[in-house]
Symmetry: C2
Subunit: 413 residues, 2 copies
């Protein structure tokens, strides 16, 4: 893409109402725009990142047998009376012109269970694993930290349905592995820990995925031996010990943001909607469920928060809006830049070419650091004289003069 | 995909509350599920079709320079007071926990204009063309006809911004061509007509794209010479003549469904939000706008309605959930079916393999006709004896015994 064709521009100043580093960079870089507290537009660069995250999650959910659907956001209130959740305070309420009361979906148990019930009759129809990537709404009292806690946000929610606890547990472990892969691929592998958290009223524990960052909202206690963590809320239950190795956990908390969670639902929702199946003897039995969520927009914020320095974002390869950022610095280098651009695009790479006029090298470099594309390629009269290009990776300090051929080897791994 | 792994099943009976043919087939085939009037879930097969339509529209919008974004569904009511649209009756109203009044977006002029205003200063920043594929909400009094008129539906809305009328008009014609391509690619080219309709209070005419079907909601008058139409609502204004060739239009109306519309907005919304730009002389001028919509879920319904017979849907190639439906009819043919499945998938084709057990040939054929995948391939002891496969296109009456090699030539065009 030609940078001059982008309708957004980078902003010099961070908006005063955005405190989190990720929000400042995302707004300044032209990734997102705030419409009101907790409600953001995703601009061309931002939608590219979000779509990359979406693709990664879709691939990993398909790999564990998830069947993708798209359920609606408008839910009849009756379904929430069935589960006793009609009064939870994050629900947005609204009314149709015909007087029907509805809520906006903040989660989809109330829709997916009646849906799956239509198709599950016998043990032969199980297990079932259904997911969607869809917009959720939460009436948050204090939406904050940019796209971390939104009133409206993109989420992947998967629901699994099983004949018994044993089958559920096997799937739950597969889901854990898939989640680990997702966080590795988006570049948060090292800073994200599987964390024991409260299981609500019907399960002892659920499992959160917490990314370490000072901008987070949770306190976790990390067992360095096992590389897992415990959420503050269950430290008492666990008597301050690691649930895996039983060793004493540190007394000092680490700040983190929850980027995903998986939850054993037992038969809570199947009981509410009478979702049963007939076993081999023809006897009706309750279906055992699990649910598995990842907030995509929150995950994007977490990547921008963790993978950044003072100058801007440092997107990991798989989520970056473009892989290569080409910056020509003279009229003479424009032609060579366009040639390299064409060649890289032809080889299937996503490339941004900074063809903007009347900007200094300093301005262009500043924007490149802010936007945070992994590879920056500078072409100038000086590099042309050497028949080379100046290549710098966003995470490295120094640039190198190399040939185009050497660069191709670097990016086409 | 293995058909046995689909969690949905085909239904023998059409639901009593679904009258439109497309809704009956889509529900019976396991494409969509109704949660409440005008609110549907898209099931695995349905989401595949919807995603194909999405891809086609995205490609055509990118081709005319559209930059994809994703704007939110939650809108502050203040923006509607600015445009005077706060009382239109299709708006869903809701309130935040902090007492702020909001509406759910039924269109996005109130969001996109303030957004673009942040980046447009001078004539150098124009034209701009921004689009999204996003969920809209309308508080319809009478949602009906399956997914034709929903309370919640997927829509592509593009907004273009220009320095003057002339630049707008050039783009408007390009958009018309892109729309024609979209309707051709989804298989509605022959039955969809560009139609003159009311332009509202600020433009003389807008242009609708109307697909001819008895299940439609509009009456149009077709000029056969020009292959365009006129909506009943402007027949009086046009004195019953074709706006192109000025010949008399027929007196008999044709029933049709609106699947898209494009609309000159002049400076109605730019004036409301004071979106101006500085011309070459530094003088502020109003930005001229156009908007361009296509309802994706409605379009899917229109394809299912128009491209169907008494037995079910006949999906055109580019929107079909799968290209090939392989049906083995004996235990012996299962192995051969799996081999052909692997080969086609390896060649990049989307294939559904009916590996379900305990079903008669008649039941499998009935489901195949209902689901409507373009190519049906039957493998049986009889075809194996001949070293051939039985191939039938969904739109043709007769099947042919051909070799696998001949079939590959047919589908890998």
């Amino acid at each position: 893409m030609l940078q001059s064709s982008l309708f957004t521009k980078t902003l010099r100043e961070a908006p005063k109402d955005e405190q989190a580093r990720n929000a400042q960079f995302l707004v300044r870089g032209g990734y997102v725009d705030k419409l009101m507290a907790g409600v953001y537009s995703f601009l061309p660069l931002g939608l590219r990142v979000l779509s990359n995250i979406e693709r990664i999650i879709r691939e990993e959910m398909n790999a564990i047998g998830g069947q993708e659907v798209r359920m609606p956001a408008l839910h009849p209130i009756e379904n929430y009376k069935t589960t006793g959740r009609e009064d939870i305070d994050v629900l947005f309420h609204l009314e149709t012109n015909t007087g029907q009361n509805m809520v906006l979906g903040q989660s989809h148990e109330e829709v997916v269970v009646p849906l799956v019930k239509k198709y599950v009759e016998s043990y032969r129809d199980l297990p079932v694993s259904v997911y969607q990537i869809q917009t959720k709404f939460r009436n948050e009292l204090r939406p904050k930290s940019g796209i971390f806690r939104g009133r409206e946000f993109l989420m992947k929610d998967l629901y699994s349905f099983h004949a018994d606890e044993k089958d559920f547990e096997v799937y739950y472990e597969k889901a854990k592995e898939a989640y680990t892969k997702v966080f590795e691929r988006v570049g948060l592998g090292k800073s994200t820990l599987m964390t024991f958290a409260s299981g609500g009223t019907f399960s002892k524990y659920s499992h959160e995925y917490q990314t370490i960052t000072d901008a987070g909202e949770d306190d976790i206690y990390i067992c360095k031996a096992c590389n897992i963590a415990v959420n503050k809320e269950v430290m008492g239950d666990l008597e301050g010990t690691c649930p895996k190795c039983k060793e004493k956990l540190p007394t000092e908390a680490t700040r983190a943001i929850e980027v995903g969670n998986i939850f054993p639902l037992k038969s809570k929702y199947s009981d509410a909607f009478q979702l049963t199946y007939k076993d081999k003897e023809g006897k009706p039995r309750p279906v055992i469920m699990g649910c598995y969520g990842i907030g995509l927009s929150r995950l994007m914020g977490a990547v921008a928060e963790v993978q950044s320095d003072d100058k801007g974002i440092m997107w990991p390869d798989e989520v970056a809006p473009f892989r290569v950022h080409i910056i020509p610095l003279s009229e003479k280098s424009n032609g060579e830049a366009q040639k390299l651009y064409d060649e890289l695009v032809e080889k299937g790479l996503e490339v941004l070419l900074d063809d903007r006029e009347d900007l200094s090298a300093g301005q262009k470099f500043g924007d490149a650091d802010l936007i945070g594309i992994p590879w920056r390629v500078v072409i100038s009269d000086k590099t042309l004289a050497d028949d080379k290009i100046e290549v710098k990776h966003r995470t490295e300090k120094d640039a190198n003069l190399i040939t185009q051929k050497e660069f191709l080897k670097l990016v086409l791994y």
